[in-house]
């Protein structure tokens, strides 16, 4: 249960940040929640909604697969998930070590991810240790 509570806190944090918005008409954005496994309940029709100008949907469900275990995993989960879930890693085909290095550098230089040099080195080493053609298992 403790792990579950932590997850809710993270998601709440992301969501609270997202509400600091001055975009016209934007009532809520970036609301995510853990997605369901197995059977999925049908959505209730919106017949009870108010006939006003607000058009809403539920939170976006997360379906994030587990990363390979190994040194650097927690750094990846922390820094990479500031902007995107680690599904962006597991979705890729096995990529050469040089490509993973370039991807990490792109996140820092092009997209402005604020990752200390030492952490970036460990993140790159982790990705190369688990997600190249030679190393990928899952």
């Amino acid at each position: 249960m403790k792990r579950y509570h932590w997850m809710l806190l993270v998601l709440l944090g992301v969501w609270v940040m997202a509400q600091d918005s001055s975009l016209p008409g934007l009532k809520e954005t970036g609301n995510y929640t853990q997605g369901s496994l197995g059977q999925v309940l049908q959505p209730l029709p919106v017949t009870n909604a108010q006939p006003d100008g607000v058009y809403s949907v539920g939170a976006w469900p997360l379906y994030t697969p587990e990363l390979a275990d190994g040194p650097g995993k927690e750094l990846v989960m922390g820094y990479c998930q500031v902007c995107h879930s680690t599904t962006y890693i597991t979705m890729q085909p096995p990529l050469p070590a040089a490509t993973w290095d370039a991807e990490v550098q792109k996140m820092i230089k092009t997209y402005g991810a604020q990752i200390p040099d030492d952490a970036a080195k460990q993140i790159t080493a982790y990705l190369q240790a688990h997600y190249t053609p030679e190393t990928r298992k899952q």
């Binding site: 496994l37 997360l62 500031v82 991810a113 604020q114």
Partner: protein, 427 residues
């Protein structure tokens, strides 16, 4: 430009996510009991051999189960079976976001479409204005991701590992972009029109990780065809497809079809933001084809993918190889075809892997930018293994090639598609 996420917030958010790293529970994929064996969880370093990507089914608001590429930001692929018809259901239409702050709720009482920049009279239009002050028009048009079929590339390239399902066709209804611009009065000196929606990311302002922004050249003839669409297949747009309005750019890849469209800006200088200057660029070569060696040598000049239209493509939807066919039992080979360069004039089917070709029957014509269905009646008489193939030709004479394409972005795939089938005996 308004931005919800400033540097301070980015750091706060980074701290929050970091604090909880290692504590997140993980989703364990389940193997469907529908099949004895599931697809692998990834493909590579060889090409993905399957029609769709190998990703699992997931359920999102306003959507039927789709194939999850990524869950934050959200990228969902349409399963093959939804392409049996010329129009793709809204509930099954693919989803592709670049950033993770995706609207969950929009208030039309304060939402406005802004037409601004180098114009005589800036406009601030409500949904009511769009519905009542401008003549509605409709177009049937295919919306296809630039990276559709990226998982076919050899060598593989990083990016969304789509199979063939990052596409869909809909009847889009809304107001002509040019009607809005005429009312605003675009001033001389305009070189591009810039489009921006309500989705944002947590990255620093001015970076591609903060906002997704695209521009089209002011002299591009496609502007005459563009629609600011508030209806999709006769319904309001699903949130994940751009509610309340999105830009429709017939014949061009989806990257220009801005979702949650809220700003249209007339620019006097070419847009040099990340999403124009760095991303979504293709080699300035036939088919956008190049090699890893030429890229590494820095020899390749690139242009925005908007400089080209979508190349001609066709797809086999049935039979899909999920079960054996029966010798002597007729089967309908069928699917869809389209081209960004105009009407599909011919679809040909091969029963021998592409050695010989026979003309398929074309379905109804819904306009030059739409899917066109095709079908071919086949009665396999001999048990065995067959490789079916399909190729389309458009009105400009473009024929699908059998050579692969390669570029570092994973764009513009349009090689001939194949489907292996097994025919069993009836006796």
């Amino acid at each position: 430009m308004d931005n919800p996420m400033h540097r301070r917030n980015f750091l706060q958010r980074a701290a929050g996510v970091l604090a909880a790293a290692g504590m997140l529970p993980w989703v364990k994929a389940q193997t469907s009991s529908q099949t004895a064996e599931a697809l692998p969880s990834f493909t590579g370093p060889g090409p993905n051999p399957y029609w769709n990507g190998v990703n699992p089914f997931v359920v999102y608001p306003q959507k039927l189960p789709l194939l999850r590429l990524t869950d934050r930001g959200i990228q969902l692929e349409t399963p093959r079976q939804y392409f049996r018809t010329a129009f793709t259901p809204n509930e099954a239409f693919f989803v592709r976001y670049h950033l993770d702050l995706i609207p969950n709720s929009i208030d039309l009482s304060s939402w406005r479409l802004n037409v601004e920049g180098n114009v005589e009279k800036p406009l601030t239009l409500s949904m009511q204005d769009l519905l009542t002050r401008f003549k509605p028009v409709s177009v049937a048009a295919v919306n296809q991701c630039s990276g559709n079929s990226r998982s076919r590339f050899q060598p593989r390239v990083a990016g969304g590992q789509w199979g063939n399902g990052a596409m869909g066709n809909a009847i889009w209804t809304g107001v002509r972009l040019m009607d809005l611009l005429q009312e605003a009065g675009v001033k001389p000196g305009t070189v591009q029109l810039q489009f921006q929606g309500l989705d944002r990311g947590p990255g620093p302002e001015g970076k591609g990780s903060n906002a997704f922004i695209k521009s089209l050249d002011w002299n591009d003839p496609v502007l005459q065809e563009c629609i600011v669409a508030y209806r999709m297949n006769g319904e309001p747009l699903p949130m994940l497809n751009g509610f309340p309005v999105r830009l429709v750019v017939p014949g061009k890849f989806s990257t220009y079809w801005m979702k949650h469209l809220t700003w249209i800006r007339a620019l006097t200088k070419p847009d040099d933001n990340f999403w124009m200057a760095t991303a979504y660029r293709i080699p300035d070569t036939p088919r956008g084809n190049t090699t890893p060696a030429d890229i590494a040598a820095g020899k390749v000049k690139t242009v925005p993918i908007g400089n080209v239209n979508m190349p001609v493509r066709s797809f086999i939807v049935d039979p899909d190889g999920s079960s054996k066919l029966v010798a002597g039992l007729p089967v309908e080979i069928r699917g869809v075809a389209f081209s960004g360069y105009g009407r599909v004039t011919k679809v040909e089917v091969s029963l021998d892997g592409g050695k010989t070709w026979r003309v398929a029957q074309l379905g109804d014509y819904h306009g030059p930018y739409s899917f066109r269905t095709w079908s071919f009646q086949w009665k396999p008489t001999q048990p065995g293994r067959y490789t079916l193939a399909v190729r389309a030709t458009d009105e400009k004479g473009n024929v699908q090639p059998d050579e692969p394409v390669w570029n570092p972005g994973g764009y513009l795939w349009n090689r001939i598609e194949r489907q292996d089938v097994v025919v069993g005996t009836a006796s």
